[in-house]
Symmetry: C2
Subunit: 336 residues, 2 copies
């Protein structure tokens, strides 16, 4: 069966993209590059820059593994050295509903999460790359100062409308999907359900299905709104890169709880408050100070350096990550 001529075989390209995360002044940043995607027919893309994640085509004859290829792409495109790297998911439907041109190679895209230790030399970034706050792409994910207002002013009204559309629901129930109202409750914590900060991807996918993110329109799905009345539902990205970013955010938020990954994003020495703010910035929610400190205390993940910080107000003790915990304990993390 593998004797068929090569021409008859499917032509597949594998695209690797990384969500490279760092922290800048306790704000989570994501590495983006200016996209190669052409503007649409109306020339609307020119109005607003379309970003994409650093990415590249996987050539197995050049790179032994996927991860090696990924590291090369990021170094080449942004001069960043990656620390922690983790594979997220492989999407087989990058074009989604968009018409595929005849004869074009099909693209399968593999998403990665990577962490890098702060913007050491911001000037070292090439002009086509930069870091951008990740909440620009997902404004509804930032609950550090309580429930974001835009949820009640723009998002939920539009989503409830979507959930009440009986006609649209018909087709979905045929393929055993959960009713829209229930998915809405589970993803966005409507009707007293709790908000789960890890469900970043589920929320984005639901917005995509509802036609409320621009990528859905670009992919040829029916737009839920007229062009002039779109509220800010987060900046779009090229290809399926915002979906990959959503996967990365959700995964990182989860990982935080059982692996000491925050420390990849911290400087050598840091105060406990800075650590707390970093965790809050990533998980997008506010934490109880005393409980957080006690937690850090008895997980024994850090040790005092003996030095003091030089902030205004009372000086704080500086700590460093005890890297030997990686060797002793099975699953060290900050349970929250």
């Amino acid at each position: 069966m593998s004797q068929t001529a090569p021409q008859a075989q499917p032509l597949i390209d594998i695209d690797i993209a990384a969500a490279v995360v760092t922290l800048d002044h306790e704000s989570p940043q994501i590495l983006v590059a200016r996209s190669a995607e052409p503007p649409d027919q109306q020339g609307h893309a020119a109005e607003q820059v379309l970003w994409s994640l650093p990415s590249g085509r996987f050539d197995p004859s050049r790179y032994r593994t996927l991860e090696i290829a990924l590291r090369v792409f990021v170094t080449d495109q942004a001069g960043c050295d990656l620390g922690y790297v983790e594979q997220l998911y492989t999407f087989g439907d990058r074009g989604r509903a968009a018409d595929e041109e005849e004869g074009r190679r099909h693209v399968v895209s593999i998403g990665y999460l990577a962490l890098t230790g702060g913007i050491t030399t911001p000037s070292a970034l090439p002009p086509t790359a930069r870091f951008r706050p990740w909440y620009r792409f997902f404004p509804w994910e930032d609950w550090r100062n309580g429930r974001p207002a835009m949820l009640d002013t723009s998002l939920m009204p539009l989503l409830t409308q979507w959930a009440e559309d009986r006609a649209g629901e018909q087709a979905e129930s045929a393929r055993r999907a959960l009713p829209r109202a229930i998915r809405l409750r589970q993803c966005f914590g409507a009707d007293g359900s709790p908000w789960d900060e890890e469900k970043v991807l589920e929320r984005y996918e639901l917005l995509y299905e509802a036609g409320l993110v621009q990528e859905a329109v670009r992919d040829g799905r029916p737009a839920a709104l007229a062009r002039n009345q779109w509220p800010n539902l987060g900046e779009p990205m090229s290809f399926d890169h915002r979906r990959i970013l959503a996967t990365a955010m959700g995964r990182l938020r989860g990982k935080l709880k059982y692996r000491p990954v925050v420390f990849e994003l911290m400087p050598e020495a840091f105060t406990l408050t800075a650590l707390q703010h970093s965790v809050e910035a990533i998980s997008g929610r506010h934490l109880h100070k005393q409980n957080f400190r006690r937690l850090v205390e008895n997980t024994a993940l850090v040790e005092p350096t003996g030095k003091q910080s030089l902030t205004r107000g009372r000086p704080a003790a500086l700590f460093r990550f005890r890297s030997d915990v990686l060797q002793e304990r099975p699953a060290p993390g900050l349970r929250l």
Copy 2:
């Protein structure tokens, strides 16, 4: 940059393989197919059947998504209907250290975990497919009756020997890998470290690196043992399928704790003891009866049917899964 002639582009095949799990009399079974892999030069493969997972080549022009393709492959090759399906990982180095023939297409393989509700019609399986107990492939993973004897009689002695090999360790420390002794402790719970039943893949990968599984030898790595003194370190599989199975086992064991996936493997009505045995069978360890029952009780995952089972001994109450919990609670599972 995408104007290059097709011939210059890398030729990649995507292989999709599924670890299809079911329970047969409270023993976890895995769906395997007779492999198409040729026997080695010495004809040794003829002595022992080499199994592979149901799998197939992904053709994007025929299947809209990866998951759809997967379901078709499994139905075609084994007549099984899949319930729960989850993507595991994409391996870019299927051939690993083995020499790749010139001109051969490079294979990237995507592994899936799938659950199916019991062998409804065992005779419906084609002669090339069957279910096999998964502990045949990973004998060291079954701790239901305490620590498996083979760990102390064969595995640990060989592994300690590997860990004490100073020369081999040099190259690894160069690329920032953890010392062998520490990895051994973390994966296999040596020196009082606890055994973590979820680390199935980590253990398999370590055995592969140590040259103690037959796939490593097949892939051209130095064998750790002479041909005639191999103890039973689990049955090998074709390609990287045992690695995919290891990933699946680890993932399922983890998922069990925060999603109600066991019920995909249970019949409509079941006793609490049967449920406990099923969980034990998957997680590979013994559970405390009373605590397990209390857990099931206050997660409210099941409800009594009112009927009784017809075992010998005292008849047991039958329960069914309350499928509405999927709609109400965010993360229902059996914490263990």
